[in-house]
Symmetry: C2
Subunit: 398 residues, 2 copies
């Protein structure tokens, strides 16, 4: 690829056609589309839609079975069955984390996710093995994707002796975020868990990301406590609550005051927009100023064989979940899979402004709404270079 070239005739966000000058991996200039012939060293965008890259805000790469032979889900009915089943499945699988997570990561990159937050299990049983493996994976793909990690106490924190020490070690190794998990439902000691993770986050100056599956009033009460802790420990803009099904279980009149606290404290929400249960009410929260982003959660793992890592499809699923059919609503779903994710992850905004890294997508559709509905095959650019198209990395590293 040329160090400097013009990307001609593209329509940013579906607007009028422009030409983009790419220089040294960044967007150096934008101008209205010129009618001049496209020079050989330049690229003709052919009136395609140009957008920022997608942001995968919540995924579990370390546990995926992606790229492995199909494996029927074998878990029993309870949450405990699923956790034990996962441990058994991962013990039985020969392929190392690097192979499985790498295969999935390449798939995610190929579909346009170039910013990502990945939760990584720790457990007294296998210690920091997953963290070490994921740090290697991150290094291997550092030039293609900005990947941040969350140390995630899947089997409990306060209730699982040995886990707290592992979390501290993971942060010392450079993991960017402190994870939490149902302070009530899993640990049965919410204040002890929140005390621990907020103090640890302050000590290491890291972000916080809490899985909250607890339902109804129990969930809502914990969201209020997380807002308390965010305020007390001055973690505004650094805290995410993942899933938060409970916000979709109560009338908006009850949820609204909580939404206002989330907005005031800059606490983001992450949803995978599931359709079998309540989910945070996207449009109402958005109107209240709450930043909601999207994640795939588990992909082809021992929890479920579902998922494909396509964040444009996740935006579609959000739209499907809430019957969004107006263009401005579909554009909001697209934002949830792009700018909202960047904001939640505490990273630079994903945009196509001059001065930004030349990371972007090209799609053969007319509008953002059509992109969300149609989820077309797309071209993925990183630092000005085409790295993937038709759902495939041009150069696999597997």
């Amino acid at each position: 690829m040329n160090q400097t070239y013009w990307l001609r005739n593209v329509r940013p966000y579906g607007g009028v056609a422009e030409d983009f000058r790419i220089d040294a991996g960044r967007i150096a200039e934008r101008r209205p589309a010129s009618a001049a012939p496209v020079a050989k060293r330049d690229i003709n965008g052919c009136q395609q839609l140009l957008t920022p890259v997608l942001v995968e805000s919540h995924v579990h790469l370390d546990k995926t079975l992606f790229g492995q032979p199909w494996r029927p889900n074998s878990a029993g009915p309870t949450l405990k069955d699923y956790i034990l089943n996962e441990r058994r499945v991962l013990r039985e699988i020969d392929a190392p984390i690097a192979a499985r997570a790498g295969a999935l990561l390449e798939n995610c990159i190929a579909r346009g996710s170039l910013r990502m937050r990945c939760h990584v299990d720790i457990d007294p049983e296998f210690g920091l093995h997953h963290v070490e493996a994921m740090q290697e994976v991150r290094e291997r793909y550092r030039d293609l994707i900005d990947l941040q990690l969350v140390v995630f106490p899947q089997t409990g924190l306060i209730s699982r002796p040995g886990t707290a020490g592992l979390m501290r070690e993971a942060l010392q190794m450079g993991v960017e975020n402190v994870g939490g998990l149902d302070p009530c439902g899993i640990d049965n000691d919410p204040i002890a868990q929140l005390d621990f993770i907020f103090k640890l986050a302050v000590e290491f100056d890291r972000g916080i990301d809490i899985h909250l599956h607890d339902k109804g009033e129990l969930g809502l009460w914990q969201i209020a406590r997380i807002a308390d802790y965010t305020e007390r420990y001055q973690r505004q803009g650094r805290v995410m609550i993942s899933h938060a099904y409970c916000l979709g279980m109560a009338p908006w009149a009850q949820v609204r005051p909580l939404a206002e606290r989330l907005a005031a404290q800059g606490i983001s929400l992450m949803s995978s927009a599931p359709a079998d249960c309540a989910v945070p009410p996207f449009l109402e929260l958005r109107a209240a100023g709450v930043n909601l982003c999207l994640g795939s959660d588990g992909i082809r793992d021992a929890w479920s064989p579902m998922g494909n890592g396509d964040m444009l499809e996740r935006a579609f699923l959000l739209a499907f979940r809430f019957d969004l059919n107006k263009d401005e609503e579909l554009a909001a779903a697209f934002e949830a899979a792009t700018v909202n994710g960047a904001r939640a992850l505490g990273i630079d905004e994903v945009s196509v402004e001059v001065g930004q890294p030349a990371d972007f997508l090209l799609m053969p559709v007319q509008t953002l709404g059509e992109a969300v509905v149609a989820r077309p095959a797309r071209q993925v650019y990183r630092a000005g270079n085409l790295i993937a198209e038709q759902g495939r990395l041009l150069e696999s590293r597997l």
Copy 2:
């Protein structure tokens, strides 16, 4: 294509590999896969999954904007707004029904739906224009897809003078099914509507397909009445209720007796498996012996820009809706998009048994579950001939 050939090394439904002999457009023989080299006149299936074709049980081809430039949804908030908006949009569109419906139909065929039921609007304003156009479309694609029509009183039947006569005319023209629409919610005279459509169906010996959006107890009461009419007019196995959201709104203990009546009367249900509202409880109904099939409903029309006509994706959306993750559940979702549809439409079973038409799909996946999860590009065979792959008809007729 050869009149007779062997399709070698395919795995029906994901089972062990077999060879299929195709003769004169039908499946003439099946045998365990031979190890012999593949002759030049034969086809190597390369261990792909072989399945029956997909069945689209509910679509509105006549109203689609498929293939037209992206059009933002412009409807107001109420149901009446949507109906009036659709009338306005369809008046404004230059492309005739044959072009729009044809484009969508080709897309559906290319994704593997070779059996289809299409609802067609009648209305005193435009009379039988849609029916005539759709009968032409059907003729044009008769060798590629088995398409049956339902005459559909979108703006009301009893409450809309002139509609009843149009319905009779449509049946005289050969439309296969009598349509109904919210006997309470739209017509405000349920007994008059049911009297009319059941008597008409008996007179012409046709099927019945009733859109039922009415919610809660109002919907459940109408389902009981439809069962009464089915029994009284001996229409067992000939009646479908489309949508029936109300069945997902009441506790199963209340729904079960109704489900037992549906099963006993051979009344099928159709769902598009939406995620923003209640839907009939798939697994419970299935266990109770109720035949539930899937449909796209509207695709890229004035009601919503969503939809793509891929019935394998619809099976995925059903699985997503109910968090199906076990292989037998995913296979049930596949059945909803295949055999259940054929049963509901009153047509020959779609299967790959000897003697059946050589209509089938080939997919590069391991199991039915993986097919539903991954929705891969597929090869579509009609009467033994490859007619589509990679989502495209080999020979467009547009």
